[in-house]
């Protein structure tokens, strides 16, 4: 079985969960004897995977996290045209991720009469909950309608596809993301650190994190670390200063994978106050690093973990209440950490690959 996978992100360039997903999925598909040509705009390396660096793109790099608007669209158009030219015809299934590479996917599907599998990591309704772009919604709708089988990263995402895109329920399969827990580690947790890690955009709820910090600081002395970059960074810094909590909040900006692992390892609590989170792979990363996890109820990852607490993203009091308890009672922290780590050990990418192969077999029948 040979797959032509049309990628967009790959380590070390990580902006969203897609990169992590693509890396581990392709790696584990390869170890399950699936042949993969992975097409990427900026190359990469992964054992067993044939990575094809799609050149001749007018905008060569996709490294700026703030890439948006016209720049983003012309990059995507140019990348899709290059894919159409570059993708060879010697494959059995074409596999796209989200809408970004789907227009090339559809064209190649029509050209080769080969089936197309589409993984939905998030929709525009998740990324821009307040003001979704019509242009992207249309692209997503076309991609969803044209895919032969769809993989949704959570039941929540499956429901979004059915409710908001009128997708055919029968072709949507839920395969939750996983974690390579061995690549994370635990450090000394003696500084009472509460962590936010994600893009600083409305969807992720970073401003709630600051409200929560303010509330916690009335009761407990703790450090709040905001990891990530995004258009909201300046306003968040100003907000922290206005609230008078600037001495207890650190903004790191964009950091490397290795630095992220280190921060996870010394954090006591990881908070994900996302307004909308189709999956939320960072929650698994935090659990693998023995940080206690508090998730927004609207996250897909909460469908597969039992040893994390959930909360409404807007419920500052409840979030703060839980954080204070974790910081105060070592017994709570230990129970969550030990059980959490145990739990995620069974959530493996090998399983994701095996379930994905089932979808490939289904689409080939």
């Amino acid at each position: 079985m040979k797959i032509a996978m049309l990628g967009i992100e790959f380590p070390p360039k990580i902006l969203v969960g897609v990169a992590v997903h693509s890396y581990y999925l392709t790696k584990n598909l390869a170890s399950n004897n699936v042949t993969i040509d992975l097409y990427l705009p900026n190359g990469g390396h992964c054992q067993g995977v044939n990575i094809i660096n799609v050149k001749d793109i007018s905008i060569s790099s996709y490294s700026n996290p703030d890439i948006s608007g016209n720049t983003l669209f012309s990059f995507i158009d140019s990348y899709n045209s290059a894919l159409i030219k570059n993708v060879k015809n010697n494959f059995d299934i074409i596999h796209c991720h989200d809408w970004i590479t789907s227009s090339a996917g559809i064209e190649i599907k029509n050209r080769t009469k080969k089936p197309m599998v589409l993984t939905i990591h998030s929709t525009e309704f998740d990324r821009s909950p307040i003001n979704p772009w019509e242009y992207i919604l249309k692209k997503e709708k076309i991609a969803i309608d044209n895919a032969d089988e769809i993989i949704a990263v959570s039941s929540k995402t499956k429901n979004t596809l059915i409710d908001r895109f009128n997708a055919n329920e029968n072709k949507i399969n839920v395969i939750h993301n996983a974690i390579d827990h061995k690549s994370f580690y635990t450090g000394k947790k003696d500084k009472k650190i509460v962590l936010f890690l994600g893009r600083l955009v409305n969807q992720k709820g970073p401003e709630f994190f600051l409200d929560i910090a303010k509330k916690v600081l009335d009761y407990e002395d703790a450090k709040f670390i905001v990891v990530g970059d995004g258009y909201m960074l300046p306003e968040l810094i100003n907000k922290a200063i206005d609230m008078g909590i600037e001495n207890n909040v650190t903004f790191t900006g964009f950091i490397s994978d290795e630095e992220a692992k280190r921060i996870y390892s010394i954090s006591d609590v990881y908070v994900m106050p996302s307004i909308s989170e189709p999956f939320g792979i960072t929650a698994l990363e935090a659990m693998a690093s023995k940080a206690c996890v508090i998730l927004s109820k609207t996250s897909g990852v909460s469908e597969i973990v039992n040893h994390a607490m959930t909360c409404d993203f807007w419920d500052i009091d409840q979030m703060a209440n839980k954080i204070i308890a974790i910081l105060r009672y070592p017994c709570l922290k230990n129970c969550m950490n030990n059980n959490g780590l145990q739990e995620i050990k069974s959530i493996s990418w090998d399983n994701v690959a095996k379930k994905t192969i089932d979808i490939y077999n289904k689409v080939l029948q």
């Binding site: 009761y219 039992n306 040893h307 994390a308 607490m309 959930t310 009091d317 409840q318 703060a320 209440n321 839980k322 204070i324 308890a325 009672y329 070592p330 017994c331 709570l332 230990n334 129970c335 969550m336 059980n339 145990q342 739990e343």
Partner: protein, 388 residues
């Protein structure tokens, strides 16, 4: 000729609110408690009591026993028809009510046993108040039992005590006999967990090869049992709440007495009759506490993890503090915190038993259960410090 002894535990906990560190209101979720009580009354207490009253009239030799916790009876004040139907049952000659702690508590495991004995007394008092006589047989919360607990109960005049017939303690011996404590005289009635769980746990399990279980087949199994008695001990909520009406549990119960009377070697006996009729055949030596809960049958359902242990320790030291003050309201609230149920919700055992804990819990996770419980203890502590 095995005697069938049926005993049903009747209890509804006082569930806590999701009490946060910012909360400053009452600790108990009265709305939820009333809602659940109402549901269980409709599905279980009222229809099951009605059916049992009818069966007791139809079959003069059918016998059943109950114990009602104090907090169940407190909640009955909003449901007088439920209390009335239990009172009506208590007037029947073949119905017995057992003793237990008022608060369905873990107080038997406290370092200081005074509270345990006090809660038994409180239970005796409320039973007297509502006019239901209790027998000389005691059932501790969740059948928690040890030599130490047994001795305490014997010393205050009880003649029988209920617990689990647990293989590691029985060894090759059968639970279908009366046992005694080494160096004690109190008689021990052991639950036959295989036969009891066929009703309380497996009755509606479609994976079970014996499903669906009928009263005639079950009676046949009982008639084939060897020993003096087969003790069928379970939550009363088995009838209609844990096993819904559509599983056929009421129809089973309706036919059960009649089916057993087809067998000459079967009869029904009350717990107090068992201990008078049969001699103890041997010692049941329990050094560490056992219970009827979970696969382990120990205390790990309530005191298995660090959170539960921390709360248990804090609960006891807070108790001493409150008792040194003169604050009736806080003392009452503290006693309500001694219920085993609050600890059950904090259980993190993740295998098959985890499902049982999830089923009963009113919290999203054991961690939320811990936070609410600990916040309340701390709030009580704060109130005491202001009340100097």
């Amino acid at each position: 000729m095995p005697s069938i002894c049926m005993y049903f535990e009747v209890h509804q906990p006082m569930r806590l609110k999701k009490f946060s560190i910012f909360s400053d209101d009452s600790y108990f979720d009265n709305e939820k408690n009333t809602g659940i009580f109402n549901r269980v009354a409709d599905k279980c207490y009222l229809p099951a009591n009605r059916l049992l009253l009818q069966l007791l009239d139809e079959h003069p030799d059918f016998k059943i026993s109950f114990s009602l916790t104090g907090i169940f009876l407190e909640q009955c004040s909003n449901f007088p028809d439920v209390l009335d139907s239990f009172k009506e049952l208590s007037k029947k000659k073949n119905v017995e009510f057992l003793s237990e702690t008022y608060y369905h508590s873990l107080s038997a495991l406290f370092h200081d046993k005074k509270e345990f004995l006090e809660q038994i007394k409180e239970h005796e008092n409320i039973m007297k108040e509502i006019g239901i006589k209790i027998s000389k047989v005691f059932r501790n919360t969740e059948a928690l039992y040890s030599n130490e607990i047994s001795e305490l109960i014997e010393n205050i005049g009880y003649e029988g005590i209920i617990t689990e017939g647990w293989d590691p303690i029985l060894g090759w011996r059968s639970p279908n006999h009366i046992y005694k404590r080494p160096e004690g005289n109190i008689k021990i009635l052991l639950r036959n967990y295989k036969m009891s769980d066929d009703l309380s746990y497996r009755f509606s399990a479609k994976w079970w090869p014996e499903w669906p279980l009928t009263a005639d087949r079950y009676s046949k199994w009982l008639s084939l049992c060897e020993g003096d008695c087969v003790n069928l001990f379970m939550d009363y909520e088995t009838f209609g709440e844990h096993q819904w009406e559509d599983t056929g549990i009421f129809s089973f119960l309706r036919h059960f007495p009649n089916e057993t009377f087809h067998y000459d070697n079967l009869n029904f006996k009350l717990p107090s009759e068992l201990i008078q009729t049969y001699k103890a055949v041997g010692d049941y030596d329990v050094v560490w506490p056992i219970s009827w809960a979970d696969m382990e049958r120990d205390t790990s359902a309530w005191l298995g993890n660090e959170m539960q242990k921390a709360c248990f320790k804090e609960l006891q030291s807070l108790g001493e503090l409150i008792k040194s003050k003169n604050n009736e309201t806080l003392l009452k609230e503290w006693k309500l915190m001694t219920s085993s149920d609050h600890f059950h919700y904090m259980c993190t055992k993740s295998w098959a038993d985890g499902d049982v804990h999830k089923y009963f819990s009113c919290f999203d996770t054991p961690y939320d259960a811990f936070i609410a419980y600990m916040n309340i203890l701390q709030n009580m502590k704060y109130k005491i410090s202001k009340n100097k």
